[in-house]
């Protein structure tokens, strides 16, 4: 199962919308998934996730090298289709390597 983390600063508005949209996208692609919310400050130490989506630009990196993608596009609509394309590409890569 694909394990996602959505990390944001304040934890309410953008996380809620982005999480909802990601679940929608994955449901449509029939990809089994779990989405766990985290704060951006917790990114470095996350261990059990395949991909981290952040909703605000950050220079934080993950100690284990888990890839991080900026998911603002799902919220603002700007660059949305490009994001979804890249996101699905990455997801399929991850699922393929399991």
């Amino acid at each position: 199962m694909l394990r996602l983390v959505v990390a944001c600063g304040g934890g309410i508005f953008t996380t809620t919308v982005v999480t909802d949209r990601i679940k929608e996208i994955l449901r449509k692609e029939r990809i089994q998934h779990s989405v766990t919310p985290h704060k951006i400050t917790e990114i470095a130490g996350i261990m059990d996730a395949d991909l981290i989506i952040v909703t605000g630009k950050t220079s934080a990196t993950n100690r284990m090298g888990i890839p991080i993608m900026l998911g603002m596009a799902l919220f603002t609509g700007v660059g949305e289709s490009e994001f979804i394309e890249e996101f699905l590409k990455k997801v399929k890569e991850i699922e393929g390597s399991k």
Partner: protein, 155 residues
């Protein structure tokens, strides 16, 4: 799914403020007086904004300051500003945006508000709606626009 509360008192057209502090103060005071938030709300809002800014590079730049702590009942307020106030960009905190449309939220439980939050993010992307908001001459006009756009979502 619960509805988000707003009312005419939370619509502030052409607010004459010259700083983020003044702006937050005006709205927070209203929210506190009407029992939607506790006294710590304004401080938490300001702290969050500093750490994780909420400016958005939408067709007309807006800001969506919000916190969930010290909030008793979920609500939102819409303010248009006489002169632009700088908010940092959520997507790039080093960049400041001149903002004249501010949606301020107090949200107790976001899982209860997913639908309206998604509806709002759609509105943020619509240039015509943002233009109508920025041109509104009165609080009543703002309320009408919100009622129209968010029919069924607000209480």
């Amino acid at each position: 799914m619960s509805k988000l509360t707003t009312s005419l008192e939370f619509m502030m057209a052409n607010l004459n403020v010259s700083s983020q502090e003044e702006l937050f103060d005006a709205i927070c005071r209203m929210a506190e007086e009407t029992g939607f938030v506790l006294p710590g709300f304004c401080r938490e809002l300001t702290a969050r904004e500093k750490e994780f800014p909420t400016g958005l590079q939408t067709p007309i730049p807006i800001a969506i300051p919000h916190v969930g702590t010290s909030c008793v009942k979920s609500f939102f307020s819409l303010a248009t500003l006489k002169q632009p106030i700088l908010f940092n960009n959520m997507a790039d905190p080093e960049e400041s945006l001149p903002v004249r449309i501010v949606f301020l939220f107090g949200i107790v439980d976001p899982s209860e508000q997913v639908n309206i939050l998604r509806k709002l993010s759609e509105i943020f992307q619509k240039k015509e709606t943002l233009e109508a908001i920025s041109k509104a001459k009165s609080n009543i006009e703002l309320m009408e626009i919100m009622n129209h756009e968010l029919k069924g979502y607000i209480a």
